[in-house]
């Protein structure tokens, strides 16, 4: 026990980072481009998250919505939903926030090489998936087909219209959007995200599905993927929990025996099957 603690690095002190860009995305969502001191890289994997500190307001886990290939700097997409995120929405360029992380496992991109990638995102679930989508676009030759399914409540809540526009017009990306409640101008698909799955023609053995969305979405997407006979081992899901400390201690994010901030937030479906509290 003597002296061991001296060598242990502090887990709870954030570094001070600067907001270098802010963009209002929807009524309740903004994205922030964050720069670390001395333009250091965050060195994250797609699908990881950071703990954002706004001093006096606390700390919250926010997933990183940009690919590490676009470093230095990284993007956070933040929905205004609590005290801290409300305050964050008031911050402008040059404001300073605290950052700890990156935390969690992220997507194991090495295993996805050469595969057809099927991205399935509901609502703000597109934020963590965007880090992976951008990664596959930046390393386009490492992957085969890129199929993006995105479901939003209504057209005004579509998160990244710019990027989605770009993805839609690329020949090497198959982009499908649906909304639950269309407005007068909407000409695209209407319905929940699962309606986009049956028409897909998939090379089943070679397709990796990555799923991120609100808690209600997972079961239904899973049923649709199973109906397609996609193998369980090809399905990955990123789960939302209350990752308060990020370092596997505080207990708030636990799903049965699994600390989401350590083992997750990305889980292979084969592991989710063992975790009864997962979906």
């Amino acid at each position: 026990m003597e002296n061991v603690a001296r060598e242990i690095k502090d887990l709870y002190t954030p570094v001070i980072a600067t907001i270098s860009l802010v963009e209002q995305l929807t009524l309740s969502e903004k994205r922030f481009w964050i720069k670390l001191p001395r333009n250091q890289k965050l060195n994250h994997h797609p699908g990881q998250f950071v703990e954002v500190s706004i001093f006096g307001f606390g700390e919250a886990p926010i997933s990183i919505s940009s690919s590490p290939t676009r470093a230095p700097g990284f993007e956070l997409t933040v929905r205004r939903t609590g005290r801290l995120t409300e305050k964050m929405h008031q911050l402008g360029v040059g404001s300073q926030i605290g950052i700890r992380g990156p935390f969690g496992n992220g997507f194991d991109v090495q295993r996805f090489k050469g595969k057809d990638m099927l991205f399935i995102a509901g609502g703000i679930g597109l934020a963590p998936l965007k880090s992976l989508i951008e990664y596959t676009l930046d390393k386009r030759h490492d992957f085969n087909r890129l199929i993006i399914l995105y479901g939003a409540k209504n057209p005004s809540e579509i998160l990244y219209p710019q990027e989605i526009n770009e993805w839609t017009y690329r020949d090497d990306v198959e982009m499908h959007i649906t909304v639950d409640r269309p407005d007068a101008q909407w000409k695209g698909n209407v319905g929940v995200i699962t309606t986009l799955i049956p028409p897909l023609e998939l090379d089943l053995e070679n397709t990796i599905a990555t799923v991120v969305g609100p808690p209600v979405m997972y079961k239904f997407v899973l049923m649709a993927l199973k109906a397609k006979r996609l193998p369980d081992v090809n399905i990955y899901m990123s789960l939302e929990r209350r990752m308060k400390c990020g370092v596997g201690k505080c207990g708030h994010c636990q799903i049965n025996d699994s600390y989401v901030c350590q083992e997750g937030p990305v889980y292979p479906y084969t592991r989710i099957k063992e975790l009864k509290e997962a979906i």
Binding site: A5, Y12, F55, R79, T85, R242, G248, G251, D257
Partner: protein
Amino acid sequence: MNRQAKDISEMKCCFFDQNTTKQFIEFLMSKAKVIAPHRKGEKSFSFQETHNPEEVVLNYNRTIQPIKKFFMPPRETLLEFELNGKPKVKKPEIKIEERIFLGIHSYDMKAIRLLDFSFDRDKPEANYFLRRQKSVFIGIAYEPDEYHFAQDLGIDVYDTTGFSLFMVPAEKGFLIFEVDETGHRYLQEFGKGLPLDAELQYERPEPTKKLKMHYNRLPQIFSHVYDSPVWKKVAERCLGCGTCNLVCSTCYCFDVFDEVNLNIKEGTRERTWDSCMLNPFAQVAGGENFRPTLDSRTRHRLYRKFKYLTDYSGELHCIGCGRCSYFCPAKISLVEIINELIEDYNRQQQHAAVTVS
């Protein structure tokens, strides 16, 4: 740290009468801060810093709060920050001090070794280990009461693992056993006490036999009772107050929040003990609560003791101190819950056997 101490019958031993014991506590106080059980109110006990050896109570059943409060305080400041202009963040220094914990029961010592595991796992936590590192423990044998079931979990009253010295109450004083080098040094330096060479006779208390199955089998039971009706039954009586978590010697979940001083120029980030039995424990900012019912939270609490951490550490993370049951305002007994789960498991096995035949 995890080395198994030898049996006390093989250890060097001497005798302290009551007066020598007091002198020894004074001696310890001259070496370091001494933490020992004291009276708290009429019926309760508490681990506190000793200022007067007369106030130390070595004959006690259990303290309200376990020793963890000295390594992970109920409330601690993780950060200090200034809000004037650019945020400035400072981590308050954690004072490393030598402390002697006197009069510790074997199960409470075991709890510290389990917390060592929990705070070391994945990412070791400096806050805990800085406070933990210069601790010396002096154990004491105890008389199990109706709430203790540590023996049923394989923790002997005379288990000296982790201690430097071990005290066994005897007529008009204590037998003092030398467990490790530090203990040996203390006794040498103190220089008093009657050396004992004769074969010692000390009685091991009868095993309590409160659990209906051997503790080795408990993780196996917990592999089969996830959907047991027992959880709902317990939840009907449970008040969801979280007392069981707060008095638990191996619980370590916490909450973190910021506080701003009235001058709004500076503030602190605080961490406090938290409780997985409280309703909002697993709730996220969007409002979704991933463990919204009392039965699911009760199950989670017990699975953390008998299955989840156990699968990684190989140890049960309940130490049978009886605190959660003793202090439960709804009088829910952990032993009763486990026994009901065992019965449920046995019923399942019988049913399975019948179905097969």
